[in-house]
């Protein structure tokens, strides 16, 4: 394992700027998740580190060595692709052994067998080692793909939305497993996703990418409670943060220049209007079982918050709404302290 240091890296494909002036330091043994929508430059960042793309500018150091000009094989990274990563003409065992059999490594076959079996147990696929890789379910395939990265001990594991093609339940299971394996190995990992739950649950630090720029990087807690700007605030939280124009509701503590107020569930206290005054009307109560989504109309705006499953509020109720230390954003979208 090693640290990876990306300095001022840019990459364009023709007119399209994929990554621009990226600075990122991933410490040894750290689990960093890059979160962003499609086209934000997440995959390009991984491919730049793996050496599948050459940066137009900037340097990439892996384990203290300048790797900017090295070929993928010389960089000692492991990559898990979103899909298509298993060789259909090989068995599960041969797929797992493939990285170890590279002519550059010259690992003896009995050592390969031991390593493959260890990893197969780790990703819980050892009962299917002799299967053809095409005869596996989606979850098993992805476990093998992850296993194929784990058979090596590379400087860094690069994972490109490895769970995105799986169904929700499997995704949940594998998410936990991956985090467990990473912690067990003390592996340095850069993980790319557009799923905020994956980012929140697995990351030591989350980096938010937008349009090829790293907008903010920090612990999940920091990113969630102290977002740098509107974009970051909108990436995290379920239901999504409510962005309301200043002045819509009483906002006594707002700093000067506030244009938008960001309010998540914990930033709002909502109660049935006691006297004639009301700020909004309950539009809908969405029952999710363990919790409810409360939809409220405030003037021309709609608000969505979480509420207790046994909330007394019902459709048509008039409510008062008060902020509780919400997030304030200026005209440029940056958060005001």
């Amino acid at each position: 394992m090693a640290d990876v240091h990306i300095r001022n890296v840019s990459k364009s494909f023709g007119e399209q700027v994929a990554v621009s002036g990226l600075d990122l330091h991933i410490a040894d043994g750290e689990f960093v998740v890059l979160l962003g929508p499609t086209g934000a430059g997440k995959t390009t960042t991984l491919r730049l580190i793996a050496g599948l793309e050459r940066p137009d500018a900037g340097t990439i150091h892996i384990g203290g060595h300048n790797a900017t000009a090295l070929s993928p094989a010389e960089r000692d990274t492991a990559f898990v692709f979103q899909q298509y990563s298993l060789y259909p003409h090989l068995s599960v065992y041969d797929n797992l052994a493939f990285p170890l059999r590279s002519p550059a490594r010259k690992m003896p076959e009995d050592q390969i067998r031991r390593r493959v079996e260890d990893v197969a147990r780790m990703v819980r696929i050892h009962h299917k080692l002799s299967n053809r890789s095409t005869k596996l379910s989606g979850g098993e395939m992805q476990r093998v793909a992850i296993g194929r990265a784990l058979v090596r001990k590379p400087a860094i594991y690069l994972m490109d939305e490895p769970l995105s093609s799986l169904d929700a339940k499997l995704r949940g299971d594998l998410r936990l497993e991956l985090k467990r394996i990473q912690a067990e190995l003390g592996a340095t990992m850069l993980y790319v996703t557009h799923d905020q739950i994956e980012a929140m649950t697995m990351a030591d630090r989350i980096g938010i990418l937008a349009d090829g720029v790293l907008v903010q990087i920090g612990t999940p807690r920091t990113i969630y409670s102290e977002p740098a700007n509107l974009h970051v605030a909108a990436r995290l939280g379920q239901p999504a943060i409510n962005l309301l124009p200043a002045g819509l509701l009483p906002d006594g503590g707002a700093p000067a220049g506030t244009q938008t107020i960001g309010a998540r569930t914990e930033h709002l206290s909502i109660a049935k209007a006691a006297n004639g005054h009301a700020d909004g009307i309950v539009d809908w109560v969405e029952h999710l079982g363990d919790q409810n989504h409360l939809h409220v109309t405030v003037g021309a705006k709609k608000l969505v918050t979480l509420t207790d499953p046994d909330t007394p509020l019902a459709k048509g109720d008039k409510v008062t709404i008060r902020y509780r230390a919400p997030l304030y954003f200026g005209a440029d979208g940056q958060r005001l302290m």
Binding site: P72, A73, R75, S85, F98, P99, S102, R148
Partner: protein, 316 residues
Amino acid sequence: MSLTTAHSVVAPSANAKLIAGTIIVAYALISIVPLLWIFATSFKTPPDSIAYPPKVVFQPSIEGYCNLFTTRTRQTPEYINSLGPATGFCDETVRKRNMVIAGPSNFLPRFVNSLIIAFGSTFCAVFLGTLSAYGFSRFKVPLADDLLFFILSTRMMPPIAVAIPIYLMYRELGLSDTALGMILLYTAVNVSLAVWLLKGFIDEIPREYEEAAMIDGYTRLQAFWRTVLPQATTGIAATAIFCLIFAWNEYAFAALLTSGTAQTAPPFIPTIIGEGGQDWPAVAAGTTIFLVPILVFTILLRKQLLRGITFGAVRK
């Protein structure tokens, strides 16, 4: 409307299947009758082969095959009677026609030429085609579209249009009437087909496979060998069949550029007609044997061939 009477919009009805089946069987019969006729003729005696009305039922004979593989000279009956007893069936048959076997004919060496040239050029075309198709598929080749069109355009001219310049060049280079020359020529013609077909097949193989291999410590060539080739075998087999069929059947270039040592079977077979009358059974025998390699090759690889033919019809 109940579910039991509902019928699929996609699956053809029984009637449609019957009509389609009838058409296919009729077409197959029409196509196969000439082949059967050739096959039958190869086992007729020369008089039977030109009998009118044509004989469908006849006494089979291998005289055609005897004549195909031998050259014969006409002799007087006295001379033939002065010879010892016939040494085999062919000898006996030939003597009945007042002839003796003078030696082996050129059919076998011509047939071997065909094998060497067809398989040799197929191998070269597929080998070169695979590599360049991979290059076109995976790398940013400057002017790739123009180059691909240029490669294809070599296929557009009829052989007769380029035969004379090629003949002159080959004479200067000492390549005329050599197997090497014919292999080079057929490779050049086939490589365009190979590049186009194989590029389609390789495009369908996700590049993540090689990228994964390269990250895992393989060089590009090793990654190509270990991950792309195994998945391209179907496409390679289909391409090989197409190239082989072309090279095997090619007549125009062979007739113009070979005359002796490197002559292939297609220009040789018609020359049999001229030797001692119109010997149709021998011609038919030559044609029948000529069909065998391609038949075997095609049957062995029929699945790949089918995929090659339907290629492009069911793209995503």
